[in-house]
C-alpha cells in the first residue's frame, strides 16, 4: 500500500516533472527576491525613523507576508496533500496569537 505510482509512461512523466520542478524553482526564486525586498523595506522604515504608530503595523504585515512566502513556496504548502499540516499549523498559529495577545494586555494591567 505504500507504493504510489506516478504515471503510466515514465518518460512523459519525467519530462513533465522536470519542467514542473523548474517552473516551481522560478517561483521560489521570485519569492526569495520579494523576501529580500521586503526585508529592505522593513529596515528602511526603521532607519527612516517613522512613528511607532505607522511603523509597527507595516513591519508586522511585512513579516506576515514573508512567512506566507516561506510556508507556501519554500515549504511547499501550496502543494496538495498539505491540508492536515496546514490545519495544525494554523491552529498552532491561532493559539500563538491568543497567547501573545494575552501577554500584551493582561500581564501588565
Amino acid at each position: 500500500m505504500a507504493h504510489e505510482s506516478t504515471s503510466a509512461n515514465p518518460k512523459v512523466n519525467y519530462e513533465y516533472r522536470r519542467r514542473k520542478a523548474r517552473d516551481e524553482m522560478r517561483g521560489q526564486v521570485t519569492s526569495f527576491a520579494m523576501m529580500i525586498f521586503m526585508t529592505f523595506i522593513a529596515f528602511i522604515i526603521v532607519i527612516a525613523d517613522f512613528d511607532k504608530f505607522y511603523a509597527f503595523p507595516v513591519l508586522l504585515v511585512l513579516a506576515g507576508a514573508q512567512v506566507v512566502l516561506q510556508l507556501y513556496y519554500f515549504m511547499h504548502m501550496s502543494h496538495k496533500g498539505h491540508g492536515t499540516a496546514a490545519l495544525f499549523l494554523y491552529s498552532g498559529a491561532l493559539i500563538a496569537f491568543v497567547t501573545i495577545l494575552t501577554f500584551l494586555t493582561i500581564v501588565w494591567w
Binding site: M1, A2, H3, E4, T6, P10, K11, N13, Y14, R17, R18, A21, E24, M25, Q28, V29, F32, M35, I36, T39, A42, F43, I45, V46, I47, D49, F50, K52, A55, F56, L59, L60, L62, A63, Q66, V67, Q70, L71, Y73, F74, M75, G81, H82, T84, A85, F88, L89, S91, G92, A93, I95, A96, F97, T99, I100, T102, F103, L104, V107, W108
Partner: protein
C-alpha cells in the same frame, strides 16, 4: 519494499519524501511538530514582549540602546539566503541529482555557521559593552532565552544536516533517506520563519519603540 533500492532520475518518484509509509508518517509528524513549535516560540515571544526593557535600575541598557541594524541585517540576509539554498537542495533532491543536493546543503550549512558566528559576536558585544547579560535583568533573561532558543535551533539544524550528509555521503539518494533530507530542510525553513519574527519584533520594533 526494499529501502535501499537504487533509483535513477527517471525511476525516482515525484514526491520521494512521501512515497513510503515511513516517509509519509515522518512528513506529517514533522509538520505537526512544527505546529507545536509555533506555540513554543509564541510563548517565548510573549514572555519577551512582557519583559522587554524591564530592568532593575536606570543604569541598565535598554533594547533601543543596544541593537545595531547593520548586524541584524547581515544576519537576516545570511539566514534568508540559506533558506533559498536549501530550497535549491530540495530541487535537486526531487530531480535525483545527489551531488548538487549535497553541494547546496553544504552551502546552507556554511551560511548557517556564519549566522551563528555573528550571533555569538552579537551576544558577546552586549555582554561586554552594555553588561546586558542573562542574569542582569528580567529583560536580559527574556532576550537571551528567546534569541538563544532560536540559536539552539540553528545549531540543531546544522548538526542534523551535517549528520545526514556524513551518513549518506557515499550511498546516494534512496527512499529511506529522502524523507530525512526533506524534513531537515523543512526544519531549516521553520527556523527562518522564526527569525523573520525575531528580527521584526525584537530588533526592528525594539529600535522603533
Amino acid at each position: 519494499m526494499d529501502m535501499n533500492q537504487k533509483y535513477t532520475a527517471r525511476t525516482w518518484p515525484e514526491s520521494p519524501e512521501k512515497t513510503t509509509l515511513e516517509g509519509k508518517n515522518k512528513f506529517l509528524g514533522f509538520w505537526l511538530f512544527l505546529g507545536g513549535e509555533t506555540v513554543l516560540f509564541a510563548s517565548l515571544f510573549a514572555t519577551y514582549l512582557a519583559l522587554k526593557d524591564k530592568v532593575p535600575g536606570n543604569d541598565h541598557a535598554l533594547a533601543a540602546d543596544m541593537f545595531e541594524l547593520p548586524l541584524v541585517f547581515i544576519m537576516t540576509m545570511l539566514l534568508l539566503t540559506s533558506s533559498l539554498t536549501s530550497v535549491y537542495a530540495m530541487y535537486h533532491m526531487k530531480n535525483h541529482n545527489y551531488q548538487k543536493m549535497q553541494t547546496w546543503l553544504l552551502i546552507t550549512v556554511f551560511l548557517g555557521l556564519a549566522f551563528l558566528g555573528f550571533e555569538i559576536y552579537e551576544f558577546n558585544h552586549y555582554v561586554h559593552e552594555f553588561h546586558h547579560t542573562f542574569t542582569s535583568s528580567a529583560f536580559g533573561s527574556a532576550f537571551y532565552t528567546l534569541v538563544g532558543f532560536h540559536g539552539a535551533h540553528v545549531v540543531v539544524g546544522l548538526g542534523w544536516f551535517t549528520l545526514l550528509l556524513v551518513r549518506n555521503g557515499k550511498r546516494g539518494l534512496n527512499l529511506y533517506n529522502a524523507p530525512k533530507f526533506f524534513t531537515a530542510s523543512l526544519y531549516w525553513h521553520f527556523i527562518d520563519v522564526v527569525w523573520v519574527f525575531i528580527f521584526t519584533v525584537v530588533y526592528l520594533m525594539g529600535m522603533v519603540g
